[in-house]
């Protein structure tokens, strides 16, 4: 497959006739390309400008922020970062980062492991009641989140888990997000079973087949799952708002709001600076894993 795609430009180039017509033909398409890319760049800039502004503004002084819509700071300063990091609480912003990490890491791992297990079960095994169970799983996709908020709250209160991180990640250890399970199942369906059968003939048991054969083949999809979960969790505001009450346990999303609440005259530069910091992990992770992410979403990107 790799060879085949590599071949295409080569043959296309060699087939081009070496006549006077060729350059003439090319010119309009080049102009077209300029228009197309120009348009894309303009639209792209419009989309990304708020982000650029955010980053620029985080280096501005509080007075400058609202005086000009231009994003470039006149007198760049780190004051927003320095003050913002200290926060108005006894904790630095580092504490909140750490709290977020305490939620995100177990949540992402739990999601990946449990979703993979459940998807493998549904995609590869026949068991009594499979259709019904799968129907129930998909039905939960359609269930609005709000409906389950209150029963869940009561449940976790009974368990004594309020104001801990547990309610925020323990459910995810049980393949809570049907969307991810569904995504992995779809991906698995596109992978022929023969590799797994070969592994069984080679003496692998079900778990070994999963770990050594299925998971590596599912890698792009699993990475997408991790990424989605990472970004959603970093941005999740409602979950922590419901379950976390003491400031020492606040994750970043709550901590950002804290800055707005407590100060009468908002220090926008501090808030923006911390927002930039809060965004950084998601952005970094996304760009590192971008290749897999796109592969994972384009289901069926498996050699057939």
């Amino acid at each position: 497959m790799v060879d085949a795609t590599d071949m295409v430009p080569a043959t296309a180039a060699s087939r081009e006739p070496a006549t006077m017509l060729a350059p003439k033909k090319k010119r309009p398409s080049r102009a077209g390309a300029i228009v197309r890319y120009g348009l894309l760049i303009v639209v792209g800039l419009v989309m990304i400008y708020p982000l650029l502004w955010l980053i620029g503004a985080s280096f501005k002084t509080n007075q400058e922020i609202f005086s000009t819509p231009w994003f470039w700071p006149q007198n760049p300063t780190f004051q927003g970062y320095i003050d913002g990091w200290q926060t108005s609480t006894p904790y630095t912003f580092g504490r909140f980062f750490f709290n977020s990490l305490c939620i995100v890491v177990p949540k992402v791992i739990g999601t990946a492991v449990s979703s993979t297990l459940v998807a493998y079960g549904f995609a590869r095994f026949d068991f009594p009641g499979k259709k019904l169970l799968f129907g129930v799983l998909i039905a939960t996709l359609l269930l609005p989140d709000v409906v389950t908020r209150i029963p869940q709250y009561l449940l976790f209160r009974e368990l004594g888990w309020l104001d801990t991180f547990l309610p925020l990640f323990v459910p995810q250890w049980f393949a809570w997000e049907a969307f991810f399970v569904f995504m992995l199942i779809q991906f698995l369906r596109a992978i022929p079973r023969e590799m797994e059968e070969a592994a069984r003939v080679d003496g692998a048991n079900t778990m070994q087949t999963l770990i050594f054969i299925v998971v590596p083949m599912l890698k792009p999809a699993i990475i997408s799952v991790c990424l989605f979960q990472f970004m959603w969790t970093m941005n999740d505001f409602l979950g922590p708002l419901i379950y976390i009450s003491s400031v020492e346990n606040y994750p970043i999303s709550l901590a950002l709001r804290l800055a707005i609440d407590t100060t009468e005259a908002f220090n926008w530069n501090e808030i923006l600076a911390m927002t930039v910091l809060a965004l950084t992990p998601s952005l970094v992770v996304f760009f590192i894993a971008q290749k897999y992410f796109i592969e994972g979403i384009a289901t069926g990107g498996v050699k057939g």
Binding site: M1, V2, D126, P192, E194, M195, E197, A198, A199, R200, V201, D202, G203, A204, N205, Q208, F212, I213, P216, M217, K219, K303
Partner: protein, 375 residues
């Protein structure tokens, strides 16, 4: 290194479809057994039951002295080569080869030695560091073969391993596999092989014995010569041989001990080689005669059918003549010479069956051969 026995093996799929109807098959130690048959006749199903990839819903499969019905594939002492190679896409060739041994916890030096040996035999040494997607089809199939070989299994199972390769490569791989089988036999570690194919050339050239299947039943198990010369029924007769054997409805009568066959109103006496073999009474039969065993003679010659040519196919050394005999089509293969090449559409020819090569079958698609004699 062990014989394989199937005893009234059945398979009913989850949806209630019965794919295999009680198969009995014995494969001797070191034997190369080919399963052949048309698409959907349950060759793969049978093979996968031997491998343990499908449950056995009736009967018994034995490898050596062990009933393996309830053993997982890894414990049956088998290795399998799949049609689509089924190499592990994320592992380099070395790791693909050694995966089974690594799972078993075989010591590293022994794995390395085994990898060396197998890659030497299959000439894949220079591919060891590649990923499967960097291999050509033929190379991938050799690696898949190596992955089976490295485990020194009791029984090798192949499911149409060559059908993804082009004709030339298929021919060379065919030879490679049979050579390998002979080599293992000569080295004193004979490999029992079950090889599934729908290609009769593969079946005839590779198999020590061939098992012809149809609709989940065994039609005949025999060595290639027997299968060709003494087909057990009309299905086997039609399945083996190129071009296909002519099978036409006929009526058998006898005139003073000389069998007479009436096809489409023409009655022809078959004077030698047939009378002693017939084991049925007079009546409707199916006449089976290979195109190579119909001699082209003058129209209206004695003891010959006369028909009209519809098509001729010139193949260089031979000519295939398609002849209509009333409503019945017949094909004759005849050496290309001046007279036969000159024949064309609309010409009338005589076709004389060679008595010793005539087969008679009971009516029906799977009519039993009634011209095999009494022994």
């Amino acid at each position: 290194m062990a014989e394989l026995q199937l005893r009234s093996v059945e398979k009913t799929y989850g949806n209630g479809y019965k794919a295999v109807h009680g198969i009995d098959l014995d494969v001797e130690e070191g034997e190369f057994m080919v399963l052949v048959g048309p698409s959907g006749c349950a060759k793969s199903t049978t093979l996968r039951m031997i491998a343990g990839l499908e449950t056995i819903t009736g009967g018994e499969v034995r490898i050596g002295d062990t009933v393996v019905n309830d053993l997982v594939p890894g414990k049956r002492g088998i290795a399998m080569v799949f049609q689509n190679y089924a190499l592990y896409p994320h592992m380099k060739v070395t790791k693909n080869l050694s995966f089974g041994l690594r799972l078993k916890g075989v010591a590293k030096p022994r794995i390395a030695a085994a990898t060396d040996e197998v890659s030497g035999i299959l000439e894949i040494e220079q591919l060891l560091d590649r990923l499967p997607k960097q291999l050509s089809g033929g190379q991938a199939q050799r690696v898949a073969l190596g992955r089976a070989l490295i485990k020194s299994p009791d029984v090798f199972l192949f499911d149409e391993p060559l059908s993804n390769l082009d004709a030339k490569l298929r021919a060379s791989m065919r030879v490679r596999i049979t050579d390998l089988h002979k080599r293992l036999r000569d080295e004193g570690r004979p490999a029992t092989v079950v090889y599934v194919t729908h290609d009769q050339v593969e079946a005839m050239t590779m198999g020590d014995r061939i098992c012809v299947m149809k609709d989940g039943r065994i039609m005949q198990v025999a060595d290639p010569q027997t299968l060709y010369a003494r087909p057990a029924n009309a299905f086997v007769a039609g399945f083996i041989g190129m071009p296909e054997m002519n099978l036409v409805d006929a009526v058998l009568t006898r005139d003073g001990g000389v069998p007479q066959l009436t096809v489409a109103g023409q009655t022809v006496a078959v004077r030698d080689g047939l009378a002693g073999r017939i084991t049925a009474a007079d009546g409707p039969v199916r006449l089976g005669i290979r195109p190579q065993h119909l001699d082209v003679v003058d129209p209206d010659a004695a003891d010959a059918f006369t028909g009209e040519i519809t098509t001729t196919e010139f193949l260089g050394h031979e000519v295939n003549l398609h002849v209509r005999l009333g409503g019945e089509p017949l094909v004759a293969v005849t050496p290309a010479d001046d007279t036969t090449t000159a024949l064309g559409r609309g010409d009338r020819v005589g076709l004389k069956p060679r008595g010793a090569k005539v087969h008679l079958f009971a009516p029906g698609d799977e009519g039993e051969n009634i011209s095999l004699g009494t022994h």
